[in-house]
């Protein structure tokens, strides 16, 4: 009943400005969890706000799960789909849970590595300094460690990486608690730079990223569901994926302003930030154009996850990805 | 026990004794020692035995701290004695018993209830209807001169007024047996005598069994059938006087009665002895 109730709540707010609300009583409700509402999953939100979900007979209820574990409700069957980073499905697969990535919404690495200017302008200067990561085994932390290692420092000895919550990065950097940190979104990178930060490594740049991780691609932002759910609700999964594919298609063809405009119902009062972030995503080709993963991108993801210690051995891509629904969608959309 | 016998021989007038009455409350060989927080032991009662006849009016007199309140607490079942037994109608008392109305020495008005609700408390517990209990309470309040203070909270009353409220709260439920621990301590002589008359009337009309603790010897003689003298700690019962003054007694006038004066002098001397032994 937990879901039923929350569906009711969002039925009103998810679709406020949407003409399709009229049909909402016929739509099938799906619950999608997210750790934070980020533009890097833009197609999923666009599928809702542009009415693609509704066209497929779906209505999405987005549940933000900031504290605790955003994956848990999906694994526990309380929610249907989850938006996460690629490391999460790998992690739970190794822990014996069966989940599949259905769509990837980004194709390039979205993080940057920024030092506190004007003092720390190179990675070498970070020796003996404090560098912020998110949770110890989170992907920002491994990204930072990888970048440091690539510059010839020992990430375990030469720097200290405390846990700092992402909203605290700018604060910690501006009062000198940390010498460098990861920029996790276009907007955050912008904010760090605005507050005097210096770009140490721009992971969004394919060349720079390849130097560190051996791949230009990196499909980080994904949507997943459990095998059990996919097995039991193939039609729903197909409808959802099809709608997302439509959104990807729309997104590929639209300008930053159009995308921001379309996202706004789910990103209230965030116009300014979206404009910056989405422009950066466009500039750096971060948004995925087909929602699919690449072999090199997956290898990089495995490497990063192993560095973080969240998985211990390679996991075959087939165990993690199920792009058959996506293929069907593209076929249907004539691509 | 010996003390009681000794006294009965001494007792001036025997005629009342002849109408042998049923024993209502019987205290058998009570010993009680308190263990205080700091580990000290205080032996309060030492082998105390006492029989209280049905419809008797017994006054307990004894030095401060000798164990009078403790004895009442034990008789009412509030305290379990270390040793000994209390029988009510020949049945051992276990725990408290609502046949006894106990007006304790401490101020036990409920501070969050105004006067009338305090007086009505016992009736409320007995599920008497609101109307009836307010009627009874109001009558008693008027009787003790507290009209106009029905809605006052205890902290707004004077010491004597609080005592009066406590008294009528006990009387309101009309208990079979009445225990009163210094009911009139902080009352002026006028109010006191009026209330004493009331108690006497109540007792005579409804023939209750009354146990009464007081420090005022003349009060004890004025009211009681029997005056029981307790010694200093560890208390034993020293003597037990019958008071053969005729009933009904007038509280105002009895003090000039020659028998009264004679009795008072006698008991007084007995007590003086006790005090000297103590000193």
């Amino acid at each position: 009943t937990g879901c039923g109730n929350s569906n009711e709540e969002t039925a009103v707010d998810g679709n406020v400005e949407d003409s399709q609300t009229v049909e909402s009583n016929e739509l099938q409700k799906v619950v999608i969890t997210e750790p934070i509402r980020s533009d890097l999953w833009a197609p999923i939100y666009l599928a809702q706000t542009l009415g693609f979900f509704a066209e497929e007979g779906i209505e999405a209820d987005f549940q933000t799960i900031t504290g605790g574990d955003p994956g848990a409700p999906v694994l526990a069957g309380e929610a249907d789909f989850g938006l996460r980073g690629v490391d999460m499905p790998m992690m739970v697969t190794e822990a014996g849970q069966d989940v599949k990535i259905l769509v990837s919404t980004t194709q390039r690495f979205p993080f940057t590595f920024i030092g506190q200017g004007p003092e720390f302008t190179t990675i070498e200067s970070l020796k003996g300094q404090v560098v912020a990561g998110s949770t110890p085994s989170g992907s920002p932390t491994s990204w930072v460690k990888a970048a440091v290692a690539n510059a010839g420092l020992d990430p375990e000895q030469d720097i200290e990486v405390p846990m700092v919550s992402a909203p605290g990065y700018v604060a910690a950097m501006s009062n000198g608690d940390i010498a460098a940190c990861a920029g996790l979104t276009g907007y955050q990178t912008e904010m760090l730079l605005e507050n005097g930060g210096v770009m140490l490594v721009d992971g969004r740049n394919p060349k720079a990223f390849k130097e560190i991780m051996g791949s230009e691609d990196y499909q980080m932002y994904i949507m997943f569901a459990t095998d059990k759910y996919i097995e039991e609700n193939p039609e729903t999964v197909q409808s959802v994926v099809t709608a997302v594919a439509k959104a990807i298609q729309w997104q590929n063809e639209s300008s930053t302003e159009e995308i921001v405009e379309a996202l706004l119902p789910l990103f209230q009062d965030r116009e300014e930030e979206l404009l910056v972030s989405i422009q950066a995503n466009k500039d750096y080709d971060i948004f995925s154009i087909d929602g699919k993963h690449t072999e090199t991108g997956y290898q990089a993801a495995l490497k990063l996850s192993k560095m973080a210690g969240v998985i211990s051995k390679d996991i075959p891509a087939e165990k993690v990805y199920d792009e058959s629904f996506l293929d069907n969608a593209w076929a249907k959309l004539g691509k | 026990m010996e003390a009681v016998h000794k006294v009965e021989e001494r007792s001036n007038v025997k005629e009342l004794k002849s109408k042998k009455k049923k024993i209502k409350l019987s205290v058998k060989n009570i010993n009680h020692t308190f263990k205080s927080q700091n580990g000290d032991m205080t032996k309060a009662l030492s082998n105390v035995s006492l029989n209280i006849e049905e419809q008797g009016f017994v006054a307990l007199v004894g030095p401060s701290g000798c164990g009078k309140s403790t004895l009442l607490n034990i008789m009412s079942g509030l305290i379990k004695p270390n040793q000994g037994q209390v029988l009510l109608d020949d049945i051992p008392v276990k725990g408290v018993n609502d046949r006894i109305g106990y007006m304790s020495q401490a101020d036990t008005l409920l501070p969050w209830r105004n006067v009338i609700d305090n007086v009505a408390l016992g009736l409320e517990i007995k599920d008497v209807s609101k109307e009836e209990r307010y009627e009874i309470a109001q009558r008693l309040i008027d009787r003790v001169g507290l009209s106009g203070f029905e809605n006052s909270y205890p902290f707004e009353l004077s010491g004597g007024m609080r005592k009066r409220v406590t008294l009528i709260r006990t009387l309101a439920v009309d208990p079979e047996i009445l225990f009163m621990d210094e009911p009139f301590g902080p009352l002026d002589c006028f109010t006191k005598e009026m209330l004493q008359e009331d108690i006497l009337k109540l007792w005579q009309e409804n023939k209750k069994t009354v146990v009464y603790v007081t420090h005022d010897l003349s009060e004890a003689i004025t009211l009681a059938d029997r005056v029981v003298i307790m010694t200093a700690r560890p208390s034993i019962i020293k003597s037990d006087y019958d008071i053969p003054l005729t009933r009904p007694r007038s509280v105002m006038d009895i003090r000039f009665n020659s028998k009264f004066i004679e009795l008072e002098k006698m008991i007084w001397n007995d007590l003086k002895e006790e005090v000297k032994r103590e000193g």
Partner: protein, 259 residues
């Protein structure tokens, strides 16, 4: 008396507002003169504008309403269960000695860490937030009423016993009124806990509410929005306290007041 009481309260209220205003003016001036960075601290005028905007686009009602509703249920259930648990443990000393340390232990759990379990048990609907809120409220009620219970004047209990009162009557006529000061302080702490609980519940999973909004804004460096929410919350709870104070005054007028 009531009118005079309210007059007095109004004066105090004006003064409270004045204190807040002075604080806001200092803050605004510090931002304007650049002493304080508005990126981190926003400014009263920005916050004010933001609140006006939220009011106009209906966000306040939408997000505030649901959080207050969750907190309300949480306060009710948490308070009720905390009080009942305290009294039950009070009446049974053995049980109390056994369970009390466990309660103390549970009180210190980081509630956020319970997130996944909470979702499994209660889903991500309103129940999980109510549960979290109730859990936070439970403890101040439990500990305070428990302490109140042990502070009851025993001679009053004996009085009721002597009058033939049963356990329930002892409870309702002595223990309950005598625990009132303790209950009121629980209520006071509880109101805050209820809101915090509802917000934490929203962190664990939600699609709207103040907690959702704070997290959303916090993640995107929208300090103004975070502080708007905080400001609204503070004002709301201060207002609630006037109600509690009034209730306290009515309930505890049997107590001579310290002057």
């Amino acid at each position: 008396m009531t009118i005079k009481y309210f007059k007095l309260r109004t004066m105090d209220f004006v003064w409270s507002i004045a204190v807040v205003l002075i604080f806001l003016v200092i803050w605004e001036v510090s931002v304007l003169t650049g002493k304080v960075n508005s990126f981190f601290f926003s400014s009263p005028s920005l916050i004010f504008k933001d609140i006006v905007r939220m009011q106009q686009n209906g966000d306040i009602m939408r997000h505030f309403g649901i959080t207050v509703k969750q907190a309300g249920y949480g306060l009710f259930f948490g308070g009720l269960l905390g009080t009942i648990a305290a009294i039950m443990l009070g009446m049974n000393e053995k049980l109390s000695n056994i369970l009390f340390p466990i309660m103390v232990g549970l009180n210190g759990l980081p509630k956020l860490a319970l997130g996944p379990l909470l979702i499994i048990w209660f889903g991500i609907g309103i129940q999980s937030k109510i549960f979290m809120s109730a859990l936070m409220v439970f403890f101040p009620f439990f500990f305070n009423v428990h302490a109140g219970y042990h502070n009851v004047d025993i001679s009053l209990i004996n009085t009721i016993k002597m009058m033939g009162g049963n356990r329930f009557q002892i409870l309702s006529k002595v223990i309950w009124p005598s625990c009132m000061p303790w209950l009121i302080v629980s209520l006071r702490t509880g109101v805050g806990m209820a809101i915090v609980g509802a917000i934490i519940g929203e962190y664990i999973g939600s699609s709207r509410g103040l907690g959702w909004m704070i997290m959303d804004a916090g993640g995107t460096y929208n300090t103004t929005r975070v502080l708007s929410c905080i400001f609204l919350l503070t004002a709301f709870m201060a207002a609630i306290d006037y109600l509690i104070k009034f209730f306290e005054k009515k309930t505890l007028r049997w107590r001579p007041s310290i002057n």
